[in-house]
């Protein structure tokens, strides 16, 4: 599903945020990206969704080379991705319902279809009773569930999550992980950056360890 070949990113010269990362994530896999702060986890995820361009190397997504994908095609790539951030990145002037509906509106889906899908996915994350609320009226865990709902509503091929539980309490973290597990069971490939060792122990999956921009470990449970 995702193939990286000698992926290298240097924000400044002689200082690689990522160095020669080569790895392969197959369809339906659930992969953790771990490593200390500054290891390059976020940079790697950003390059997979074309938010950053690699300095060297190649990225293939579902067999397609997206290394130098023209900017005007980036939106189309992202319609097949679900992206979850540590800080949620919700539209705070819109309701929960509108936030989750937005990726479908963007694709020009029909109103009826949108309403049905949004309601279903909100039920999945247990927030159907909150759909008319504003994100800022919700707790952190609820906001992240809205973000996960927004990522999953498009049935993405790949879900990229950058420390999605970094700001959340342990019990809320469990809720989010259950949602990811559910999506993964339904076929979505998941790449999740985290440095929460306990979490990995609780939900053991393949772990790719980064350190100073290099892959230093790749272990199946």
């Amino acid at each position: 599903m995702i193939q990286l070949f000698n992926l290298t990113k240097a924000f400044q010269r002689d200082q690689n945020a990522l160095s020669d990362v080569t790895l392969r994530v197959t369809k339906g896999e659930f992969v953790y990206l771990t490593g200390p702060s500054g290891a390059g986890k976020s940079t790697l995820l950003k390059m997979i969704c074309c938010a950053e361009r690699p300095t060297r190397g190649q990225i293939l997504m579902d067999g397609r080379n997206i290394t130098q994908l023209a900017t005007r095609y980036i939106p189309h790539l992202r319609r097949n991705l679900g992206i979850v951030f540590q800080d949620f990145k919700l539209l705070n002037r819109r309701t929960v319902f509108e936030n989750v509906a937005f990726p479908l509106e963007v694709q020009g889906r029909r109103r009826i279809e949108i309403s049905k899908k949004v309601y279903n996915v909100l039920k999945q994350v247990g927030l159907e009773h909150r759909l008319s609320h504003n994100p800022l009226q919700l707790s952190g865990g609820e906001q992240q569930r809205v973000a996960v709902a927004r990522a999953l509503v498009v049935d993405p091929l790949v879900l990229l999550a950058d420390e999605p539980t970094g700001n959340l309490d342990p019990d809320v973290t469990m809720d989010i992980m259950e949602l990811f597990k559910g999506a993964n069971a339904r076929g979505t490939t998941i790449v999740m950056a985290t440095h929460d060792r306990g979490l990995i122990r609780q939900f053991p999956r393949r772990v790719i360890a980064l350190e100073a921009g290099r892959v230093v470990g790749d272990n199946q449970p």
């Binding site: 938010a51 361009r53 980036i74 319609r79 990726p103 498009v154």
Partner: protein
Amino acid sequence: MIGQVVYFLRRALRNMLYSPVLSAASIFTVGVALALLAFFAIAVLNVQRLTASWAAELAVVAYLEQPPDGTVLNRWLSEIRAYPEVAEVTYVSRQEAYQRFKKRLGNDADLLDGLGADVLPASLEIRLKPEQREAMAAVVERLGRNKALGELHYGREWLERFEAFLLLLRTIGAALGGFLVLAALVIVANTIKLTLYARQDELEAMTMVGATALFIKLPYLIEGALQGLFGGMMALLVSFVAFRVILRESLGNILLLTGIDTIHFLPFAWQGLLVVAGALIGLLGSLLALRKFVRFCQD
């Protein structure tokens, strides 16, 4: 399709309602700039109308010391009519000149009582086509070759002076207008930028869920265009009110002396143009503002 239009319009209006003060500032800026521009346009248009009416009356008059006989006259007439610059040639006989003068004197016509009908010379009045007015000197020169035509009169100098004034007025108007429009553009762009700073996270979030640049920008472009449109309408209203209460009086006082009967407001097409110009300023302003804000990729 209609659903799409409504969708983007709703997003645009919602954005405007979220920052009413900034929206009002944009509208006001465009309105003031275009109103000033409209004042100038009204002045220029009316002065232009005046010179046009003068120019239409402008003719070369050739005074004939000896009224020619019929065949010679006809030859001259057809010769002059053949000039490409000439619109019309009329022969004014001594009697006609006398009648005209009498009429112009009106109540004082009895001054002429002691004089014969042949005190005034006969003349040829040669009117040029409006677009050939520049060629007047050439025509006069060509006419001058016929010594029998005698003295040639034409009121060119004062018209030229007036046209120079008109040109000055237009140049000032264009320079001031260009400056005002540019200033309005920059202010509108910056106003919209202010609203975009506040929504940076939102714009980023939109780029991350697969929205195209156009999808994200369209509401802001509509917002800018609407603000400009309202600004243009405000300018139209303000300039019309100013026209009714000030401009018509003061400009009228100046221009009425010179023989123009009424002062006109902007013609309908120009009114439309003013509003369209407002919308374009707003559209362009938001386009400029958006350039840096909607980014899919850090490159």
